[in-house]
């Protein structure tokens, strides 16, 4: 009996060694990915984009770590990745600062780090090879440029236009960038008047509350720019309650371009939505492929971001995953 058991154990052990040998023999590129958390639809789509890109069929092995919004979890995860000797580390940083030490360790271990979404502040920018993300300032410009076109098409380009801006959570990079982008272009357009800006904290409820107040203070609002879709929906409710028609009496522009925004455009409630593309996975994969071949990569890489209105919403909607 004992012999049988020891034989069994031996077989098990051997098969284990064999299995390890097999997995090492596969030429999979191992990628450790530390994600912020799962706080929004956008983030879920962002995560999903990585999971669907870095599959074994595509030649990758993805080690996913959800940091649950805690920077210390990310540092732990990166140290784990280094110990596991992954080939690449992808980091979607929660905070901007405090990365020198742990990224230094990764550099010492010879593991290239690619950043996704948010930027980090480090004195030595050789700590990461590339950054992939959205260009919030350009998104700000997009809104005003879309408005220029829209007004021209409707023959209103000689009118004075009153704009209100619903800002995101103050201090978030999306809020800072989008507000800056909008204001930059407003500065050289004397016909556009920014009546007021106020934070709606990226939520529908706050967006509605702030818009209610705007409507009472300014009876003559022509355009609402909401720094995300949710605040846009809130603003629509407030506009309806004030007896006006969103999308018609007041031009509505929002950001993110989630699925519901497309539906709102088709219904006529929303005039335009500016994309904040969460699909970073393919772009990161592209960078990794270049690095594998030893080609140089650009340090700052913006993902493609579109502007959608009634002209193209119908054809994009069926392909929207988020």
């Amino acid at each position: 009996m004992k012999k049988v058991i020891s034989l069994l154990i031996l077989v098990l052990l051997l098969s284990g060694v064999f299995a390890v040998a097999v997995s090492a023999a596969d030429d999979l590129i191992v990628v450790g990915y530390s994600q912020v958390g799962a706080e929004s639809d956008w983030r879920t789509a962002n995560t999903e984009s990585f999971k669907s890109t870095f599959t074994e069929e595509n030649g990758y092995k993805l080690i996913f770590d959800d940091a649950m919004q805690k920077p210390e979890n990310q540092i732990k995860a990166i140290r784990n990745f280094i110990q596991q000797e992954v080939d690449y580390i992808v980091l979607a940083p929660i905070v901007e600062t405090g990365w020198e030490t742990v990224l230094g360790e990764a550099k010492a271990a010879g593991i290239p780090v690619i950043l996704s979404d948010r930027m980090i502040k480090v004195t030595d920018d050789s700590l990461y090879v590339a950054w992939v993300g959205g260009n919030f300032i350009k998104e700000g410009h997009n809104a005003i440029e879309w408005l220029d076109n829209y007004l021209k098409e409707n023959g209103r380009d000689n009118e004075d236009i009153n704009i209100v801006l619903l800002q995101g959570t103050i201090g978030s990079s999306a809020q800072i960038g989008r507000t800056q982008g909008v204001e930059e272009l407003l500065a050289d357009r004397p016909k556009y008047h920014l009546l007021a800006k106020q934070t709606g904290e990226f939520t529908q409820a706050k967006g509605q509350e702030v818009m209610e107040s705007f409507l009472k203070s300014y009876p003559d609002i022509d355009v609402v720019i909401a720094e995300n879709d949710d605040m846009g929906y809130g603003a629509m409710e407030a506009i309806r309650a004030a007896g006006k028609v969103p999308g018609k009496d007041i031009i509505m522009i929002s950001y993110d371009a989630g699925r519901r925004a497309f539906e709102a455009i088709l219904k006529g409630d929303l005039n335009a939505t500016i994309e904040c593309n969460p699909l970073h996975g393919p772009r990161v994969a592209e960078i990794i492929q270049k690095l594998e071949k030893g080609e140089p990569v650009e340090k700052i890489q913006y993902v493609d971001e579109g502007v959608f209105d009634i002209k193209n919403a119908a054809e994009v909607l069926p392909t929207r995953a988020y």
């Binding site: 799962a38 706080e39 929004s40 639809d41 879920t44 800002q167 103050i170 007021a196 800006k197 106020q198 934070t199 904290e201 939520t203 529908q204 409820a205 509605q208 509350e209 702030v210 209610e212 107040s213 705007f214 009472k216 203070s217 949710d230 929906y233 809130g234 409710e237 309650a241 004030a242 007896g243 519901r260």
Partner: protein
């Protein structure tokens, strides 16, 4: 005896009312249109309506919070998260269909409120039976509540598309005032009646002032505290239903976010001691309206977003200082009167 009692309660509410009037008076100078109320599509429309409309949820939470503070000398910091749980249950039950709810509207709402009450009972169990400090006990649901809510919604925002779902958070057709105002007023009235017509109000005070003494004269202290927490859970549930109806969705991350702090502040602004014992429901409701009046006023005055919290903080500091016993003593000493002895609250 009754007259003097009335005078004291009148005095207790004096300062909260003064604070509210002060906040509103600022508007008189800065935004003259503030008090203008017009009729639009058969509903009243104006900043003042916004204030009482938006203050409703906070007032409802403040009612529950007042009782919890009075009975257990602690605060329930889970109210915002419990609101999110309720909202999730309601939206999950009613479903996203545009034409029909998955189940009758009332059953969906009742299920949600039941969830709220269960959360409240859990808090009550921990505080009354296990004798855990209220803030620590309610910290559990404060953190776990949003997780539960996320689980129910499977991490997504559930939208309830049927139009009638919005009524609770907006207007009943042909009724000039927003629905949340009626809900808050009804809840306040029922609570007040129950506390006044039965001995419950006095029991809660007695337990809050001295738990053991209460028990020694034959009050079941544990049960009283348990009940106030369960009731606070119900209030959170009602507030959650309104918040969810306003956006016709359950946003587990954002529904009632940070509102627990405002609810506690409302209780304090209402002249209630956070040390338990004597309480005034009306005071808390006035406190809730004051907080909303402040926010709406700042919007109307076009204070920019980055300065908003600073102005709020300044006003709150002023109001709280005005109500402090030390300040009142100082004022009366300035007037050359004998300092009023600080009333022994507990």
């Amino acid at each position: 005896m009754k007259k003097t009692l009335k005078k004291i309660t009148g005095f207790q509410l004096f300062l909260p009312i003064v604070a509210l009037i002060l906040v509103l008076l600022f508007n008189m100078i800065k935004t003259p249109d503030f008090f203008k109320i017009t009729v639009l599509n058969g509903t009243l429309y104006g900043f003042m309506i916004d204030i009482i409309n938006r203050a409703s949820e906070l007032a409802i939470l403040a009612i529950g919070m007042t009782l919890v503070v009075a009975s257990s000398a602690g605060t329930d910091i889970s109210v915002g998260a419990v609101s999110a749980v309720t909202a999730a249950i309601i939206c999950y039950s009613l479903g996203p269909d545009q034409q029909n709810y998955q189940m009758p509207y009332l059953i969906g709402i009742l299920l949600g409120l039941l969830g709220g009450v269960l959360c409240g009972m859990w808090n009550g169990l921990l505080v009354a039976k296990m004798r855990i400090q209220p803030m620590v006990a309610t910290l559990i649901l404060f953190t776990a509540g949003r997780g539960i809510s996320q689980l129910i919604c499977a991490g997504q925002i559930i939208h309830v598309e049927k139009e009638s779902y919005r009524i609770l958070g907006s207007f009943i057709p042909k009724v000039p005032l927003p629905t949340p105002v009626f809900v808050a007023a009804a809840l306040a009235l029922v609570t007040w009646l129950v506390l006044k017509k039965t001995a419950l109000g006095m029991y809660i005070q007695a337990v809050g002032i001295n738990r053991r003494a209460g028990r020694l004269i034959g009050i079941n202290s544990q049960l009283i505290i348990f009940m106030t927490y369960a009731y606070c859970g119900l209030c959170s549930g009602i507030a959650g239903a309104i918040m969810s109806s306003r956006i016709a969705a359950c946003d587990a991350n954002n529904i009632g976010l940070n509102i627990e702090l405002d609810a506690i502040l409302a209780v304090a602004l209402g002249g209630n001691s956070l040390g338990g014992g004597k309480f005034s429901l009306l005071g808390s409701i006035i406190g809730a309206i004051t907080i909303q009046a402040l926010t709406t006023s700042l919007y109307a005055m076009h204070v920019t977003a980055d300065q908003l919290p600073i102005y709020k903080a300044i006003v709150v500091v002023i109001i709280v200082t005005l109500q402090s016993a030390e300040f009142r003593k100082w004022i009366s000493s300035l007037q050359g009167k004998r300092p009023v002895k600080a009333k022994v609250a507990s």
